[in-house]
Amino acid sequence: MFQSSRKKIIYFLVLALPFFILFLNQNTFSGLRTTVVSVSSWPIKIVTFPLKEMKKVLFYRKTFNQNKVLKDENEILKRRLIEQEELSKENSRFKDLLDFKSTSVFSSVAASVIGRDPSNWSAVIVIDRGSIDGLKQGMPVVSSLGVVGKILEVGSKISKVMLLTDPSFSVAAIIQHNREQGLVSGTLQGICRMQYLSPKSKTNIGDNVITSKLSSFFPEGLLVGKVIAVQDSPSSPTIECFVEPVVSLSQIEEVIVLKMPQK
């Protein structure tokens, strides 16, 4: 009888201990987490490599057509860039005249996506750069199109990136055309929700959402996505809208980490 009750206590403790861990500071397990991800990253690279290559062959035609379109677009952009450079030079001359402080340009690191969290509960990717490359927790991760996410945990050679669509992610943002402030957060749906917009704001479907200067992690003016639906907030006298990220997060393979000093 004594042995039976001892067994029950052990089984109870086996369940109670992990439950107790839930309430501890999550940074305590950061080392364990990054070690597990680091150890798993090599087999993941090996398993996913042929799949990625197969995908490239299967989507050859689509890529070919896309390449054609992009080449044309590139030509137009090159011409615009020359115009912009002229304007930028002119602008800096004016700034010098007005004695403005020059804005710092962040250095950046390009990284490849080597794995993804397979569960539906979170949106996390693993990239092949870590603290050796100067990455730190909270650094913004972007692509050529716009915001991708932010660095969640850093190992020596790998890092975990929390994507824009993760339920724990949030960033201060504004609607580009009317400068209305709000908070963009992730949802389980794979899109984002922008909350706390004033009911008087004229927000329309198709409006661009960009990062705000109130954001502690992101530089101002990065494109987050486009508004796809506007509705009244059920919990507060504000309106909220759904934002589709401009970056295709399920397809992304390369990202840029901005080495931005944290506020």
Binding site: V14, L15, F19, L22, R33
Partner: protein, 161 residues
């Protein structure tokens, strides 16, 4: 010791398959192979190895996610206990319908427990969980369960003999 080694290999291989499946099918076909492994090792090797499997699978899942660390560990261990509690009522272990029902019940149980744990720390919409987590995961897990369990059985008989 040999059993523990087999469990570690199974956990790791199934996790890699989950990651690889995501690369191909995206978010609408995400079977929880680790739940199937937890159920399988509890039935095949008993509660001690079931708990060991739950720990390994839970740590793997929690390490890659952004959620609270330990959520999957608690959820898998809870599934192990429920399974052991109801094990004596099982009659037919090999029937296809039994595997399907078991996969459905335990992937549902897993999602419910993770939902309750996550909602203690995060604001999560139940409707979103039902449509974007529950439906794709349970349907995919039930669909792959007969193949997965058969392969696990074949592999473990080869590795342990």
């Amino acid at each position: 010791m040999k059993k523990l080694f087999v469990i570690i290999i199974f956990s790791f291989v199934l996790f890699l398959i989950e990651v690889a499946i995501f690369q191909i099918f995206g978010s609408w076909f995400k079977p929880s192979l680790l739940v199937l492994l937890v159920v399988y090792s509890n039935l095949k090797f008993g509660i001690r190895y079931g708990i060991a499997t739950s720990l390994i699978c839970g740590i793997l899942s929690d390490s890659f996610g952004s959620g609270v660390f330990g959520a999957h560990v608690v959820s898998f261990i809870s599934c192990s206990y429920v399974l052991i509690a109801v094990k004596k009522y099982f009659v037919e272990f090999d029937a296809l319908s039994f595997k399907l029902v078991l996969a459905g019940i335990f992937s549902t149980l897993n999602i419910i427990s993770i939902y309750f744990i996550n909602s203690m720390f995060l604001k999560i919409n139940f409707g979103d969980v039902f449509i974007f987590v529950f439906l794709p995961e349970v349907a995919a897990t039930v669909a792959v369960s007969p193949f997965c369990v058969d392969y696990l059985r074949k592999c473990d008989s080869k590795l342990l003999n």
